[in-house]
Amino acid sequence: MTLLEIKDLCVDYTVGADSLRAVDQVSISVAAGEAVGIAGESGCGKTTLGLAVPGLLPANATPTGSVQLLGEEMIGRSEDDLNELRWTKVSFIFQGAMNALNPVHRIDRQILEPIRTHEPNTASAAAKERVSQLLELVGVSPSRARSFPHEFSGGMRQRVMIAMALACRPSLLIADEPTTALDVISQSQILSLLGDLQREQQLGLLLISHDLAAIRRTCDRVVVMYAGVVVETGPTAVILGRGTEKRTAAHPYTQALIKAHPDLAGERVLAQALPGHPPDLSIPIKGCRFYDRCSVRKSICHEVAPTLRPVAGTAHLAACHLVGGDVT
Amino acid sequence: MSLDKRPSLPVEPGEDTMQPSSRIPWWRAVWGDRMGRVGLVLVVVVLALVVVGPMIFPFAASSFGLSADSILQPPSGGHWLGTDELGRDVFRQVLVGGQISLLVGLSATAIAMVVGAGLGLVSGYYAGWRDNVLMRITDFFLVLPTLPLIIALAALLGQSVVITSLVIGLTSWPQTTRIIRSQVLSLRERPLVLRVRSLGATDRRTIWVHIFPNVSPLIFANLVLVLAGAILSEASLAFLGLGDPVHVSWGTMLHFAFTSGAMSRGAWWYVLPPGIGIVILVLGFSLVGHSLDRILNPQSRGAR
């Protein structure tokens, strides 16, 4: 069953008189029980994409296209209608739970809040019981339910956020850089937790991260974004390599990304940073967006924007002229 | 800081047209900001009236007809704003009174800025125990209620333009000190300052040549706001009868209006103009001051 179906989504930001397209014709789908990772540098539009799903974009962002959550169209929905679906069907885990939790409310109150809002008929005792269960599920002792967010470490706060996100039994979980602000050990623990929860409860997971290792570890499929477009997508094992499977990323950008994040357990290679920076999206771009930084570019790359095409006829797609025989 | 008003307000009206903080002169930057533009216009209009007015309109300031039909007369052709309780022309008084209000405001502000910025610079630059002591003193003065203190000082020291300016100035500096001090504290850690000091620059030189120019925009923005408050303070003080009886300011005019029973006679022409003058002048300066503050502090509030 398809949980999330994003089709040709575009998001335009208006700043003063200028307009900027942060997400351009992106299509993604997530099935129940499936974990999809969205990888890319800062500013590639992945966070915007994530926010667009529950309709959390700021006022100056206009989404067009289609975002269907469990068959319900999200774009153009009224705020009241969106509120019904938020947290009950789709939850969001923010990056850096430092500020994502209200500093002046105790955490039991913060977890209870969506329960009381969306399921107002729940008895008080039952609700409190659920809070304890959720905390235990994420590895936080229920005795700490009366604490304030600042009394927890970063890793614990993120766990609380996850517990809170599961409060209304959503079908889809969107996690935006859930481990970025954490130390390495906490990162690993949170990722394990997310993976376990997702599998146990058959949740759909949309993991947004610039950390390829996190995606490699947790996700079944990966979508690589650059400058607002999808440049490569397919099974994680194929693109990023997993376990003994060798990676076969086809897009030069993905390859560069991988080179910048060498695998701890893989061959010993020097990390290679990718020079340059993404293009200015307020200026329309003609050809491939990666042209300026690509080491294998051809003249056609400057003229025509490449579309996503299958690599060797599989579910692995890449948007590059060098794939699929446009160029020799 | 003023007697009955807050020292500064956090203001962010919408539609701001913030200029890049490059080398444009301050008045152009303020003109570009809608709020600042209105403020500048108000200030200039009042300044023109008050400075140039008395020269253009040399009505005999003393038309001391004390008969019943020359005192507290409503506006007429001969007296545009009517007459006061001694038969004098109100319009001319308003023009001249504005000069005094402005003069006292400016003098008081000068004193407050010299003391306030001076202490702020010293306190922030040296930090350490000097800072501690100065901050304790500053906090103490911040806590003292302003108008009661000013009243007490004026009652004890006498009534003149000089004393009024002194008294207002010496009670308005604490806010400035805090603002300047915190800016200097962060500035002294900047590479430029460390570099200059390691090359052997004396403290005085470092403060004057390197730190002061960086703080002066902030001082200027604060100055304008303090000026707005000082004018209000002078008005309140004068209204309570503690102003200079010889040099009549707008506040003093209102004092006479109130105590002479002009109110019960319905003499609105005596009460409205000086007050409106104060409001326009203070509003103008506070608009400019807040506009400056926003221009110089682009990262403050809501601009994330």
Binding site: V104 | V143, T146
Partner: protein, 322 residues
């Protein structure tokens, strides 16, 4: 809140109070030189009484001794003797303090309720037209001199249209029932309260607005939205609750400044409170009363600051730790 912290705070409060008392001494006994000379200058004394008074006031003693006498009197609750009223100052202060508390209490309540309300409306819709009009009117109100605002209100409500009483605290020459008395009191309270509120509403409106705008851009506000909460809940339970802290700080500052406003309002409306008392004391150079009023004002502000400090800690769990 730990006992140790409270103890430290109380000690700090005591030190400040002592500092203010000493400052008061400096101001009224050291600065003007010889107070007896001042009184003589103001025409209260005949020359023969001067020497007698000098001895009475201990002015023939050295300054440090005078200081100790002053402190002793203070602790004993002796605030001196008023020249004008021919009574102990404390007797004169009693009813005055009551009346001022009534006025300021009512005015502050009104100011905070309206000010914070306006600020929330403006801050929740930052940069809208509502927001701009709130900000602009606040700026204009801030520029109004308190006393002049009172005078204008007197014109409108008292002179041109006889709507409300414009002076005093009750209508003289009438005797009312208790309820009638209360109503009469209320009517007299309206204009002075309105004046104070009009002029001070700006501060709270602007600080609330600014604080709320800051808070609205915090991450936890997006979390609240993501949870599917209604807008009103988000703004009040999450936004305003976090925006309260600067408002509490503003209240502390406001206390120091509203006293100046009270003096002006009481002078204009002849409201028999501490403000009018000080005003009259200035006019008649009744120094003991002036000195005592200043002390009372300063002490009031310090205690309010102390209280708001405690309130701040109660509201912000992050601060409690330190």
């Amino acid at each position: 809140m730990s006992v140790r912290y409270l103890a430290r705070k109380v000690f700090s409060l005591a030190v400040t109070l002592y500092a203010v008392a000493s400052f008061n001494f400096l101001l009224f006994h050291v600065l003007p030189g010889n107070p007896v000379r001042l009184m003589a200058r103001a025409g209260h004394l005949d020359p023969a009484a001067v020497a007698q008074l000098k001895q009475l006031f201990g002015l023939d003693r050295s300054l440090p001794i005078q200081y100790l006498i002053y402190l002793r009197d203070l602790i004993q609750g002796n605030l001196g003797f008023s020249y004008v009223y021919r009574q102990p100052v404390t007797t004169v202060l009693g009813p005055a303090i009551r009346n001022t508390v009534l006025l300021l209490g009512t005015a502050t309540l009104l100011t905070i309720v309206v000010g914070v309300g306006l600020g929330v409306i403006a801050g929740a819709r930052a940069n809208s037209r509502t927001d701009t009009s709130v900000v602009v009117s606040s700026l204009v109100l801030w520029s109004l001199p308190t006393f002049w605002t009172g005078m204008i209100l007197i014109f409108i409500c008292g002179v041109w249209f006889h709507l409300l009483p414009i002076s005093g605290i009750n209508t003289l020459g009438y005797s009312f029932t208790s309820l009638g008395h209360l109503v009469d009191l209320g009517k007299h309270l309206i204009l002075p309260t309105l004046t104070l509120a009009l002029v001070n509403v700006a501060e709270f409106a602007l600080i609330t607005r600014s604080s709320l705008v800051d808070v609205m851009s915090e991450d936890y506000m997006v979390t609240a939205r993501a949870k599917g909460l209604r807008r009103r809940v988000i703004v009040w339970r999450h936004g305003v609750r976090n925006a309260l802290l600067p408002i509490v700080t503003a209240t502390a500052l406001y206390m120091g400044l509203v006293l100046g406003g009270a003096i002006q309002v009481e002078a204009v409306f002849s409201w028999p409170g501490m403000g009018l008392l000080s005003y009259k004391a200035v006019l008649s150079r009744d120094y003991p009363v002036l000195e005592a009023s200043f002390l009372i004002f300063a002490v009031a502000v310090i205690i309010m600051n102390f209280a708001s400090d405690l309130l701040y800690r109660a509201l912000d769990p992050r601060v409690r730790q330190s």
